[in-house]
């Protein structure tokens, strides 16, 4: 029986026990959630570029972005057949509200409802990119308007409910100590250690780290690599990647007009371009560039100084020859492709595990808070699944590794992380093979690894913790060998 089936069975049990009570609806919701796409929240400090990244991931300008603080309400973006916006208030029935799509982004008419009374906005938007994942945009933390921050906190650390998100992309500008506290709120207490399993760190606004210089992304990569090595960051997120959100968003939505305008800018000598791009104000005020100042301001708005510098350089050096190529090149350089890849390998490939995990924790808490006859038996069943399911055992070993409780040589730790699915949950990824590796290759490699790990686990000199962890790895490898799907 798969984990998902076991979870569904437990939910059925719960439904029976609580039949007729007000909790029945909540349990039904948990069931619906299991079947729905994975929920990924985009969280982070105020102005870290959450909405921008969301737009880039969807490839459309949906979430409004602005220089000031912009996102004030938790907003869900999910796939569907029609375009519609649902307002879910804290009290009362959800209702549909009118919206317009202005200058690209979706502007919702809230009517007389104060933002504080709204639990969330639920936007249904037919989109290929939202098919497998529902994205959740959150207001920033560290906001000057206290209640905006509170809204994010209550979303991520609700007082009486489990987190509505299954996984989270945590955006950080250059990291602050405060960021660590924030990440810690994602840690559940059930799997006893903090869990780097459902969080990816994104070093956002990467272009600004190098104050817009052309090598800015190189700097951002170095910084992200340093954070990846930092043990305190490692125990909170699985990995850290840099992304230049503005660049990604604009590249994903680049228009032919914009491309033509960039060609005009690139038409001048490198020296002249450099002079003009010395500051934003100067660029807008350089009449020698054959564009209106409105057009120049629009370019800056969309690409930033860094984006204009990079795009004109790419055009001048003839790296790209049309809008499509420019868009692809900018997307790759912005780091967005990597974020997408991580979403796929780390979250989507183990979506069943993540969703079951959310559901079981929620159910466990629910049952614990509402003791009725039969609840104790249900709780021990939940615990049996949590303790017994191999997927959760893997997560526990991974957390222990990241928290430094299981220690081994660096290369052994790296191998363990890989086998546990840190580079992707697919068998080839776990074994460190190419994605197109044949079944035979996979089996050979898995057998070799299995033999090595059996020796290690049986060796009396191996530390106890590593032995226990080794047993889990052995089961993982056995699973890879028997799993034919």
């Amino acid at each position: 029986m798969s984990l998902l089936d076991e979870t569904v069975a437990l939910l059925d049990d719960a439904r029976r026990i609580y039949a007729g009570s007000e909790l029945a609806d909540v349990i039904d919701d948990l069931g619906t959630r299991l079947a729905a796409p994975l929920r990924v929240a985009i969280a982070g400090k105020v102005k870290s570029g959450k909405s921008t990244l969301l737009n880039a991931l969807v490839g459309e300008q949906l979430a409004p972005t602005d220089e000031g603080e912009c996102t004030k309400i938790v907003t869900w973006y999910r796939d569907g057949h029609t375009y519609q916006v649902l307002l879910v208030p804290h009290e009362g029935e959800p209702r549909q509200v009118p919206f317009v799509r202005e200058a690209g982004s979706v502007e919702v008419d809230l009517g007389d409802t104060a933002p504080g009374d709204i639990e969330r906005l639920d936007i249904t938007w037919p989109s290929q990119q939202l098919r497998d994942v529902t994205l959740i945009d959150t207001p920033g933390i560290g906001s000057l308007s206290t209640d905006i921050s509170d809204r994010t906190w209550s979303f991520i650390r609700p007082d009486d409910d489990d987190t509505p998100a299954d996984a989270v992309l945590y955006l950080m500008k250059h990291l602050h100590a405060g960021d660590l506290d924030f990440l810690a709120t994602f840690h559940d207490t059930e799997v006893s250690q903090p869990n780097p399993v459902n969080a990816i760190g994104v070093l956002s606004r990467a272009d600004e780290i190098g104050v817009g210089r052309l090598d800015a992304l190189g700097s951002a990569n170095r910084i992200a690599a340093r954070y990846r090595r930092d043990p305190r960051v490692r125990r909170l997120v699985q990995t850290v990647v840099p992304v230049a959100g503005l660049l990604a968003e604009s590249a994903a939505t680049l228009t032919e007009d914009e491309y033509r305008a960039l060609v005009v800018v690139a038409d001048r000598t490198p020296k002249e371009t450099e002079e003009a791009l010395l500051s934003a104000d100067r660029f807008v005020d350089t009449p020698e560039i054959a564009l209106t100042s409105l057009e120049r301001a629009h370019l800056l708005d969309r690409f930033g100084i860094f984006g204009v510098r990079l795009a004109t350089m790419l055009i001048r050096r003839e790296v790209v020859a049309n809008a499509r190529e420019l868009s692809a090149e900018l997307l790759e350089r912005s780091g967005l492709d990597e974020v997408r890849e991580l979403l796929r390998t780390l979250f989507l490939q183990r979506r069943d595990l993540l969703k079951s995990r959310s559901a079981l924790f929620a159910l466990d808490r629910l049952v614990g808070e509402h003791p009725v006859p039969g609840a104790d038996a249900l709780r021990s069943d939940i615990e049996r699944v949590l303790a017994g399911a191999h997927g959760f055992a893997e997560l526990r070993v991974l957390s222990s590794l990241r928290a430094g409780q299981v220690t081994a040589r660096d290369e052994v730790v790296k191998e363990m992380e890989r086998l546990l699915g840190c580079n992707g949950a697919a068998p080839a990824r776990r074994l460190g093979l190419d994605d197109d590796a044949s079944r035979a290759e996979i089996e050979t490699t898995a057998k070799e690894a299995l033999a090595a790990w059996r020796r290690r686990a049986e060796n009396p000199l191996t530390q106890h913790d590593l032995q226990v962890a080794g047993q889990v790895i052995i089961r993982t490898l056995e699973g890879l060998l028997t799993d034919r799907t």
Binding site: K45, V46, K47, E67, G68, E69, G142, S143, L144, T146, S149, H174, H176, A177, G178, D181, A184, H187, T189, S192, Q193, R205, E208, I209, V211, G212, A216, S219, R222, I223, D230, R232, R235, L278, S279, A280, D281, R282, V284, A297, L300, D301, I305, E383, R384, A387, G388, A393, R396, V397, S400, A403, Q405, V406, H464, D465, V468, A469, Q471, V472
Partner: protein, 612 residues
């Protein structure tokens, strides 16, 4: 190092004249007093502290200001130790290590190890500052540059507030009360955050000469909107602070190409004006005022010895009465400089009380903190939270230490004012008595009031000055040094991976309880250790305050005693003077008194002029 000449020659001339007068009348004791006034006039550079969050462009701002790449700028690594920039004829740099620190010496005068300016980045950035060898940890960097803009200034580039695992922001806060001006740096990428505004609030409380520099305006086309939003936030927070938008790359380019227009666009001229008008000039006015007050006081002392003599000469009948009065006054001045003097006792008792009060205050804070820690530990599993707990605790502890030092500073200032008052009461009577015999009222009642008025704050500020040298030293370095030395021990996490079914929950609970006990013990050990260091530091500081105050007022008492003795001697001589010589001597004395009076008028006009 020769102090740079200040344009403030009027004050200088007055002090020099007073020095010549003291020398002529053989009053070396008064000369010593004026020498220190002179030094203050010439060299007391105003401290401008540049603060802001991590990676907002503080070092770039400092570099662009002095038009040289001095403070290392890196995309990733941030400044970790404070850098002090001052003016000198030729550029040089020194590094101050932890073991060079001496709380008796103000940081500005610490002698460090001479280094090459080009190697600076090795010393001030994060990696080097976290050296395991604590004695060789870099604590500060002093840089001298031949730049006119630095005249009369000390520019302090501080480590950013925030940053991964840095408990460095509290000393930055601690340096603020002593800053003459604060430049708060925030970049144009976003509006002010709550943390920044909180910081601004506290900074404004500590030093109201504050300006916000909005950096990187070249990079963000929307900087005007950000500025407007920031202005809004500041207004709503009730902070009357100016925002100066600036761009370092534009300034650098402008200086390279000598481009006046570009320089204007960079926004730096406004910052330079702020430094010149609101910082340097203000500091000079202050020094000028002090010079005026000191010279007036010296003039009063000089005049006193002549005035009694003149009275005795003018009215021989009363000569004996005057001598008797002066003899009595002499007894008083003797009492004033003795151990038993009221001011001296106030000081001694006050310091003893203060030591106890300050320690009690800290103990109270620690107790509250421990309660908070226990609650936090009971609400979480130390295995989850320990790595975050440690920086949190060290930050919380340093905040308590800072508050405790504030308490110390306030109490010391109050005590200093009290001592000043007691001294003033006693010495005022003496001065009045000397003045009774003054036939020509050189000290009109109005000017006496002015003297008392102006002298008082400067006497009360005495304790503060005593702290000033030590405060920077103690807070910025010693305190954090002792805290860096104290480590919060690890909490053994126990068996990490638990596999199994039934006992999972119970076993976990048992381990968590065990970890909590360990964590609480570690916290107690840590706070004990810190308390030990803090108590020692505050005792040392208070003792230093006591010594400085005692030396100051002893010297004043000594001067008064000397003046009285001289006056008595002169009065005695006058009584024996022959009739024929009297008229001539009176004319001489009147001439001397007239000179002193005119000097005093000049000094008073300095005081009045500086008030404008």
């Amino acid at each position: 190092m020769t102090p740079p000449t200040t344009p403030d020659s009027a004050a200088q001339t007055v002090v020099d004249n007073a020095l010549r007068a003291c020398s002529a009348f053989g009053r070396e004791d008064l000369m010593a007093r004026l020498e220190s006034t002179n030094a203050a006039l010439a060299g007391d550079a105003a401290h401008v502290v540049v603060v802001g969050e991590f990676k907002q462009g503080k070092s770039s701002l400092v570099n662009a200001l002095v038009a040289a790449t001095i403070c290392p700028v890196d995309d990733d690594i941030a400044t970790a130790v404070p850098t002090f920039l001052r003016e000198a004829p030729s550029p040089r740099a020194e590094v101050v290590y932890a073991d060079d620190l001496d709380p008796e010496i103000p940081t500005a005068e610490l002698v460090g190890e001479r280094i090459d300016l080009n190697d600076l980045h090795q010393y001030v950035t994060e990696h080097r500052a976290l050296d395991r060898n604590l004695d060789r940890t870099v604590r500060a960097v002093n840089i001298w540059l031949p730049r006119r803009i630095l005249a009369g200034l000390t520019l302090v580039d501080t480590p950013g507030v925030g940053g991964l695992g840095s408990a460095h922001n509290t000393p930055t806060m601690g340096a603020l009360p002593l800053a003459d001006a604060v430049v708060f740096v925030t970049d144009a990428s976003q509006e002010l955050t709550r943390a920044e505004l909180d910081f601004l609030h506290r900074a404004h409380d500590a030093c109201d000469n504050l300006v916000v520099a909005l950096t990187k305006t070249d990079l963000y086309p929307q900087w005007r909107k950000i500025r407007d939003l920031d202005e809004d936030h500041l207004r709503r927070a009730g902070l009357d602070v100016e925002i100066l938008p600036i761009s370092a790359p534009l300034r650098v380019r402008a200086v390279q190409g000598d481009d006046r227009e570009l320089n204007q666009a960079s926004g730096y001229p406004a910052l330079v004006r702020f430094l010149a008008d609101r910082v340097v000039k203000a500091a000079q006015r202050n020094a000028q005022r002090n010079a005026g007050v000191e010279v007036s006081a010296v003039c009063d002392q000089l005049a006193s010895q002549f005035s009694s003599e003149r009275s005795a000469l003018a009215d021989p009948e009363r000569a004996q009465a005057i001598v008797d009065d002066l003899t009595e006054t002499k007894v008083r001045t003797e009492a004033l400089r003795s151990q038993a003097a009221r001011w001296n006792q106030t000081l001694g008792d006050g310091i003893a009380d203060l030591v106890a009060d300050v320690e009690h205050d800290y103990r109270g804070r620690t107790r509250m903190l421990l309660k908070e820690c226990d609650a936090a530990i009971d609400n979480s599993d130390p295995a989850d939270t320990w790595s975050e707990f440690e920086p949190w605790l060290s930050e919380r502890v340093s905040r308590e230490v800072l508050e405790n030092y504030r308490f110390l500073q306030d109490s010391a200032a109050t005590l200093s004012a009290l001592v000043a008052e007691h001294f003033q009461d006693a010495s005022g009577e003496v001065l009045d008595q000397l003045a009774i015999h003054n036939p020509i009222p050189i000290m009109g009642s109005t000017t006496i009031d002015a003297t008392v008025d102006t002298e008082k704050p400067s006497a009360a500020a005495r304790g503060f000055t005593a702290l000033r040298g030590s405060y920077m030293g103690v807070l910025m370095f010693t305190m954090i040094g002792s805290m860096v030395g104290v480590a919060l021990g690890p909490v053994a996490i126990g068996i990490g991976v638990i596999m199994g079914r039934k006992t999972l929950r119970e076993e976990k609970q048992r381990q968590v309880a065990n970890r909590r006990v360990q964590a609480k013990n570690a916290v107690r050990k840590y706070t004990d250790e810190v308390t030990f260091h803090v108590n020692k530091d505050s005792r040392d500081t208070l003792r230093r305050v006591q010594r400085q105050l005692r030396d100051h007022y002893s010297a004043r008492a000594e001067e008064l005693h000397r003046s009285t003795t001289e006056a008595l001697k002169a009065a005695n001589l006058a009584a024996k003077q022959l009739e024929s010589d009297r008229a001539k001597r009176i004319a001489d004395i009147d001439a001397e008194l007239a000179r002193i009076t005119s000097l005093r008028d000049m000094a008073q006009s300095l005081v009045v002029g500086s008030a404008k």
